[in-house]
């Protein structure tokens, strides 16, 4: 099925947050902190306020009234303390965007009392501590058996440290908001968000409004990858600016501002230790993750979490330690935790395969657990081995010579690598409404389509449940006025919203006119199984012997993700994740100034995401997987698993090509040349 909103997107008719028409609209431009830590002593906005066309200046000199300051990233202008370089400290509202920007950049003088700061993550940082929980509510540490004894009895061991850099989501659509205060005091926000309902609740709370007086509209969102999963300062700023200016206000963060204000993937330092017997059976697994958060809030990424489900071993340990630095608060980025964590674990597994002289696919098969190795729960379904075998067949793995650095085509070294993928299959409670209007079916649910194809897959799910053609179903999403639904995140969208849509359609079939559903009870019953999707990623790389340039002629992903509801769109999700994973392997990194913590390469010329020329043959396939323990559709999420394991597959292929083991991403020419 083609995307139901496809025609609107290719003709330019699909409207994104910044693009709604409004009468007499004004623009707001942020002012960012010039120091890393300290106190604001003075705010002199004389020049800005004297500029023709400027309507208002916002800052902590006159803190606007808020209902809640709990989320310090959203409690704008409430404090004179600066927590990181680039923090939002003031803003200028003007009739024209050029005026607002010029006045913000040159018309507001802020005096600071700078204080000493600390911005660098390191494994021996004295401030490291173990958080109570890691996202989303998991224990920070797990232990089983005696890890040291397991290593002591091992015939082969790997003990290596892997690092991943700060990464930025960089959706193509900047974080943008238009805020409109209605005459009765209600607030409408056209906001670039992954969850209209949660966004509405957060904004209402911060502004001190009852939720029913706030409406968030977001039918089309230009990507988010986690960075639009929580309310961002742009939404609050637009609302405050519109209140101050007495007219609708629009705000789109600049690409540069996005780096400071919309979250990022924490850098990680991960020590992985593996011990195995002579046949490659793991005797011990230890995965220790070190990561950062801000002084404002604790954000504890679940970096070592995937290691808890991947392989059997009697002795195991995972730990997370955090340090709170004078930096912006990290946030979600596609497969938070699983993505950087599996780079480390799956690189280490490859190192173990080399050390033990065992084929890396065979090594993984030998360590396949019967039940969840941490909690002994049965898997609702688990087909990692099938993915590895199917991938090996399609990729042509058989007969692979494991020796590194021996395949040369001209001046290119060639290698292949494999890595496993995994991602949890969860769902959250949602509500939906199904009605008949003018003979067609209308489904209403405050779901979000951020490019995942949610609108299309829900259309298909509704049509199947109703026993009708998709053309007779219209699905309305992206509006907090619709029945409440969970956000687009954690690969939970289709499972969460689809469950509600199925139930609502079933109710409609019973009563003939209207059906509503609330899946709270269904979701509370999701216990008793360990639910995860699995996959296997295969990479072929070519490494230029002279320059260290790495090119990827082939990437193949084989996934086991329950029932694939909409093959065309699911494939796009898998391939898209793999494409981002390849970029993570080879080019993505946010360069941090070590002295002030600021993000230096804060644009798309310096922060490289994969371009069209980088993507040659990337393909994704899946195996048929029946899983009755998930949801009415039997589906697992597909939005994130594609990026999990890709970087390890590429890194393992680079090792196979060159004999060089790069343990710190990205794998750039400076690390290979010489």
């Amino acid at each position: 099925m083609n995307r139901v909103e496809g025609r609107d997107k290719v003709t330019g008719r699909a409207r994104y947050a910044f693009e709604y028409p409004a009468e007499d609209v004004a623009y707001v431009h942020p002012v960012q902190a010039a120091v890393t830590r300290g106190r604001i002593l003075s705010v002199d906005a004389t020049d800005a306020l004297a500029t023709p066309g400027v309507l208002a200046v916002l800052s902590c000199a006159e803190p606007p009234a808020l209902g809640s300051r709990e989320d310090a990233e959203l409690a704008l202008f409430q404090s004179d303390q600066v927590a990181y370089r680039g923090q939002l400290v003031a803003a200028v509202v003007a009739r024209a965007p050029e005026t607002a920007r010029e006045a913000a950049e040159h018309g507001v003088r802020i005096g600071y009392d700078a204080e000493p700061h600390d911005v660098l993550l390191r494994a021996d940082h004295p401030g490291l501590y173990t958080p109570e929980k890691v996202n989303p509510g998991m224990p920070a540490e797990t232990r089983r058996g005696d890890v040291e004894a397991g290593f002591a009895e091992a015939a082969v061991t790997v003990d290596a440290t892997y690092t991943t850099p700060t990464l930025h989501n960089n959706p193509m659509e900047p974080h943008a908001t238009m805020a409109v205060w209605e005459e009765n005091g209600d607030l409408t926000l056209y906001d670039s968000t992954q969850g209209a309902a949660d966004d509405r609740d957060t904004i209402a709370e911060v502004l001190g409004l009852p939720p029913e007086r706030v409406r968030v509209v977001a039918p089309h969102v230009g990507g988010g990858f986690g960075s639009k999963g929580t309310t961002r300062p742009n939404a609050i700023l637009a609302a405050l600016a519109a209140r101050a200016a007495g007219r609708p206000v629009k705000l789109a963060l600049t690409r540069q501002q996005m780096y400071d204000l919309t979250g990022y993937r924490t850098p990680t330092i991960q020590r992985v230790r593996l011990g195995a017997d002579a046949e490659g059976r793991l005797t011990a697994i230890s995965h220790e993750a070190v990561e950062q958060s801000s002084t404002l809030m604790e954000f504890a990424e679940q970096t070592a979490a995937p290691t808890r489900v991947m392989y059997a071993a009697p002795n195991r340990r995972t730990t997370h330690r955090l340090v709170r630095l004078d930096v912006p608060t990290p946030s979600w980025m596609r497969a938070p935790g699983e993505c950087p964590g599996m780079f480390a674990l799956e690189s280490a597994m490859d190192e173990l395969a080399v050390a033990a002289g065992i084929d890396p696919i065979e090594l993984r098969i030998r360590n396949e657990p019967d039940v969840d190795p941490e909690n002994d729960l049965p898997f609702s379904s688990r087909n990692l081995v099938a993915c590895l075998r199917e991938g090996a067949r399609r990729f042509g793995w058989e007969g692979r010579d494991p020796r590194p650095g021996i395949r040369l085509d001209g001046r290119w070294l060639i290698g292949t690598g494999v890595a496993a993928s995994t991602y949890p299959s969860r769902r959250m409670a949602s509500t939906a409404d199904a009605t008949v209007e003018d003979g067609d079916f209308v489904i209403r649910i405050a779901a979000a389509d951020i490019g995942t194809g949610a609108r299309t897959v829900l259309t298909r799910i509704a049509a199947e449940t109703l026993g009708t053609a998709p053309e007779r179903v219209r699905v309305e999403v992206g509006d907090s006025a619709l029945p409440r639904a969970s956000l687009a995140g954690g690969s939970m969208g289709t499972a969460s919203w689809g469950s509600a849509v199925v139930r609502a359609c079933e109710a409609l079939l019973k009563n003939g006119e209207r059906g509503t559903a609330d899946t709270t009870e269904d979701v509370e019953g999701d216990t008793g199984f360990s639910r995860h999707a699995f996959g296997a990623q295969f990479a072929e790389v070519r490494v230029d012997l002279d320059t260290g340039e790495v090119r990827v002629p082939r990437l193949l992903g084989v996934f086991a993700a329950g029932r694939i509801l909409e093959p065309k769109l699911a494939r796009s999700q898998f391939v898209g994740g793999m494409t981002m994973g390849m970029g993570m392997a080879l080019m993505e990194q946010t360069i941090v100034d070590e002295r002030d913590g600021g993000f230096l390469n804060h644009d798309l010329a310096q922060y490289h995401v994969a371009a069209c020329a980088d993507v040659q043959d990337i393909d994704a396939v899946w195996i048929e997987e029946e899983d009755p323990h998930l949801n009415p559709m039997g589906a697992k999420g597909v939005g994130e698993i594609g990026i999990v394991g890709t970087a390890a597959a590429v890194a393992n292929a680079v090792h196979h090509a060159t004999g060089r083991r790069v343990r710190d991403l990205p794998i750039t020419p400076p690390k290979l040349v010489g």
């Binding site: 002279d546 320059t547 371009a611 020419p669």
Partner: protein, 324 residues
Amino acid sequence: MKLFEYARAADAREALERFRPGTMYLGGGTNLVDLMRLGVARPDFLVDVTRLPYDTIDADGDGLRIGAAVRNSDLAAHPAVRERYPMLARAVLSGASGQVRNMATTAGNLLQRTRCPYFQDVSRPCNKRRPASGCPAIPGDHENLAILGHSEQCVATHPSDMAVALAALGAQVHVTGPASDRVVPIPGLHRLPGAEPERDTVLTPGELITAITLPPPPPGRSHYRKVRERASFAFALVSVAAVLDVDEASDTVRDCRIALGGVAHVPWRAERAEAALRGAPATEEEFVRAAEAELAEARPLPRNAYKVPLARNLIVRTLQELIP
């Protein structure tokens, strides 16, 4: 962006007459508008020179005359450039994107400014942007900055690919100015940072590039090769433009031209390497010796030392591939 006046000049005389302090000439805008939006450039007056009658390529005679306003994509697509100066076509095509090349002009490409992250961020010091404010790149991030010819004031690199090919070809830049017309060679147009990193070139205020002329193509084979981790739409980590003329009877180098990009504040003509190679056997050993002679001058910083072996390998490999 500061409010500015805009005027479109019909010819060079009008452009020069309109020039006053605070004026900048506007070509394709692909770097100037970018820098104005960042606050790095804050002109009072823009004189648009894209409609000046310098938008043609004249291939009469042995050399080539490229108008200053010729768009990069038209330069690379011109039959005479493709047939006679393929190295130049390749260099132009390896820069930026199709869209940017459609907009960017020849003169604008030469005069584009460094992409050093500190230069582009007005919240930070930079000697090039604000003289005597300091160079945070030296103690900070300089992974992609200069290894040759830099100073304590500035380690920026020149970002152009085209200029590297022009440096190898020995192009001449034709300049008109308030006082007189003159011709400046490449290399020679761009300057090393020294104590005045704010000056990228030897041009003086008000001077306007009108054309670039190329001497007849040098004998031998030529190539432009650019290294970058993203396969396209990225500035060079290191690039090389090389021309090699080998006497096939004796397998010795009759002549060669080598220029490097991504290593210095200027397109770097590798004259030491060239001198080492003239008359030498056309062998890998000699190419290595020549590359190392050039790079003996390199003073890498802690995080860009990789550019030395990278430049060496690139020179050697490119020359190897030019052996007939």
